[in-house]
Symmetry: C2
Subunit: 239 residues, 2 copies
């Protein structure tokens, strides 16, 4: 850290890349943008951009999130730093160090071009292939991280609208983990955790027309889940 010279090295560019997740029709979707120029022209990539001189990576990520989704208020959305990708050859043009983030959206506005008029779309997670740069790796890391945090935090409510049913909350777990859960046990587990959800008095919603109306809940104040809600026999827990 000592004996430095601002221009002693080939400059590093610092960018943010975002894995923006949402649920549509019970399936996990990711926001992708189409690249307009080389390298990887025509391929899909994660949204992202440069960190400006006067902002932190977190600020840059939230700014990009607003620009790419078209949402006017992104202040309440869950945004979480994943890790930093810094392989020297990850961008063929120059040295780019990218701080990756995962973001969770409750409802998905239709994708449109961002501020730079690039094409954007919501892609079902399972259908994503051949992303530009190392974005495939970043996306896989992001999903693994989100899945892991569902186990021991109350993060799942970040995928839900302000008022939601327990069925919808369970769909979050099932979509991210890719496994089915036992509904009675899930219900008990959630309600037994103080501060995970709180009931909306008297309210109920008809879910999909058929079936008994479900009680509505709001996100609680708790952040952690004790004891955790473990994935059924997952095998590969992140190192």
């Amino acid at each position: 850290m000592d004996g430095y010279d601002k221009y002693a090295f080939e400059p590093f560019a610092v960018t943010v890349d975002l894995a923006v997740f949402t649920l549509r029709a019970g399936a996990l979707h990711v926001l992708l943008v189409e690249r307009g120029r080389e390298p990887y022209a025509g391929q899909w990539a994660l949204p992202g951009g440069f960190v400006r001189p006067d902002e932190s990576a977190e600020s840059a990520a939230r700014r990009e999130l607003g620009e790419e989704t078209g949402l006017t208020d992104v202040s309440g959305l869950h945004l979480e730093q994943l890790r930093t990708y810094s392989e020297p050859d990850r961008d063929p043009r120059m040295r780019v160090v990218s701080v990756a983030f995962a973001a969770l959206l409750p409802d998905a506005p239709e994708a449109h071009g961002g501020s730079d008029a690039a094409q954007a779309r919501w892609a079902p997670y399972g259908s994503v292939r051949d992303l530009a740069f190392d974005h495939g790796r970043i996306l896989a890391d992001a999903r693994e991280r989100v899945g892991a945090k569902l186990e021991y935090t109350c993060l799942a409510t970040a995928f839900c609208p302000p008022e939601f049913t327990l069925g919808e909350l369970q769909q979050v777990y099932e979509a991210v983990w890719g496994t089915a859960l036992d509904r009675p046990n899930f219900r008990r587990k959630v309600l037994a955790t103080p501060g995970f959800v709180e009931t909306v008095p008297g309210a109920a919603r008809l879910t999909g027309g058929r079936g008994k109306p479900a009680a509505l809940y709001r996100a609680g104040t708790a952040a952690a889940l004790h004891p955790p809600l473990l994935r059924p026999t997952p095998e590969g827990r992140p190192a």
Copy 2:
């Protein structure tokens, strides 16, 4: 990511900072270096340095780890990326984005000056105060991360020499978590997890002179811990 110019922005410096942990006499210690020049001259800081143009942050971290500890072979040591700190004002001289790492050492060589002849020492974790820059925050984050990973990974063996006793392994948990554990239950839990440790046949070691000689174990091949080994009533699980 498009429409860029290598020199369009004030250059970012990219550095790595390391929280290097070890156990000495059953207590958690951290490697610190003394700053020789402003800013924060005379204060203690985490070891670290610039990422070179041809290396990743991980490579830079491992290189610095070797330079600062004086160890000739750091290839087997556990090194893990924590997160990236990028507040615009975290270094008063210029824009420095720092990728933080946590490293775990089984045995602590005496600290000496690194390659840049800076003073270095092992400090008991509890005694560390007033680190330079945002290093106090980084150090706290590192300890929290390591503590959390002890719960659901086999990471604890990274603090131990190639052959160790279960008592030594338990000391790792107790030092990092700052709590006492029940020895019989700890023993059962470790031995019940396939691949956590494997016995060294016939070997035993006199631990501290007194007491029954303890059986020796090696680190196993498993990475994850199922089910996890949870901290006793920890309250604040990381978000």
